[in-house]
Symmetry: C2
């Protein structure tokens, strides 16, 4: 098994995948591991919808793109002009033609859902990397409102999507883009008596 | 270096620490590693305030406790009655007398700050565990409003705290409390042609 140091290099945002399905038992193992993620008061609020069907992934991409463009047209959100061009491109799949998509969702009533889901997402990303898989959190793919698609995913009205993660075997693992040094606002040292 | 499998067992919420300071160079190494965490559009919005001074940590605990009790009295939040009793107990330090406290904060203008900070928090938790340190995300410790304390931490008005993480050498690493099986809303399989 990989050391954590190796995983830190392997855990990269992957947007280019081999044409190879991800077995559901591998997904199951990753999700089981992700239950070890901490959550506020150990509440474990995350729920998962897993999509291996390329037609459904395409439909979810189309749905999310059209909702984003509509929201931008209605002035509800502001989109970077580069994104607008991309979202208008019929050939652009927000999920980068990944063979598998995992939605992390949970009850709208859970105040800490965003951070709980993000912690679970990090476990899924590391768990995938430790198995030779790549992931990417595709925020553009979270905008699913169509009743039929929501029903297909098992998303009831009281549930919202936090993180759409794509999953697959990477064609390559790119180098990490440059990171800034950690920005320390303050270091308050121990007062010596 | 530990394998990821070992880290999954070691990364536990730790609330009981050895009376031993955490060297700042260890904190620096962990925070540098945490810059590898993904963030929306690689925006890297996290900022850190690190407190080794026990008197300051105590003051931050007192501040957070009194703000929470005030908010509950004002009906702004609802607190579990067990928490009320705990917060009223002068001997209860929300940071469990940890020798080190890291605040992850960032600009209020960043819409994805919660999830970006949670992803960085998971890197800090794993990075700490890989160095024999323990952490716990103490949400009760995030309620810092006092102008003097905020200035001490370098928190300007446009910045908010997402995650207070305590850090130290654990007296013991407890077993993980029981986790439920992952709750799969749906698994949509590939349609075979």
């Amino acid at each position: 098994m990989a050391t954590y140091e190796e995983l830190l290099k392997k855990r990269r945002a992957i947007r280019d995948f081999e044409d190879k399905p991800v077995p559901q038992d591998v997904v199951d193992a990753i999700l089981k591991e992700a239950t070890l993620a901490p959550s506020a008061s150990n509440n474990q609020p995350c729920r998962f919808a897993v999509v291996h069907c390329r037609k459904t992934i395409q439909a979810l991409s189309d749905e999310s793109k059209s909702n984003l463009l509509q929201d931008a047209a209605d002035g509800k959100i502001r989109l970077n002009p580069d994104y607008v061009a991309l979202l208008k491109n019929d050939n652009f799949n927000v999920f980068y033609n990944a063979p598998c998509l995992i939605y992390i969702a949970g009850s709208k009533a859970v105040g800490t859902l965003d951070v709980d889901a993000a912690l679970a997402a990090s476990y899924i990303m590391f768990g995938a990397a430790s198995r030779g898989l790549g992931t990417c959190w595709v925020a553009l793919g979270a905008n699913v409102r169509d009743a039929k698609l929501k029903a297909q995913l098992g998303l009831s009205e009281d549930v919202r999507i936090v993180a759409p993660l794509i999953l697959g075997y990477p064609k390559a693992i790119p180098e990490a883009p440059a990171r800034r040094e950690p920005e320390l606002l303050r270091v308050i040292v121990e007062a010596r008596s």
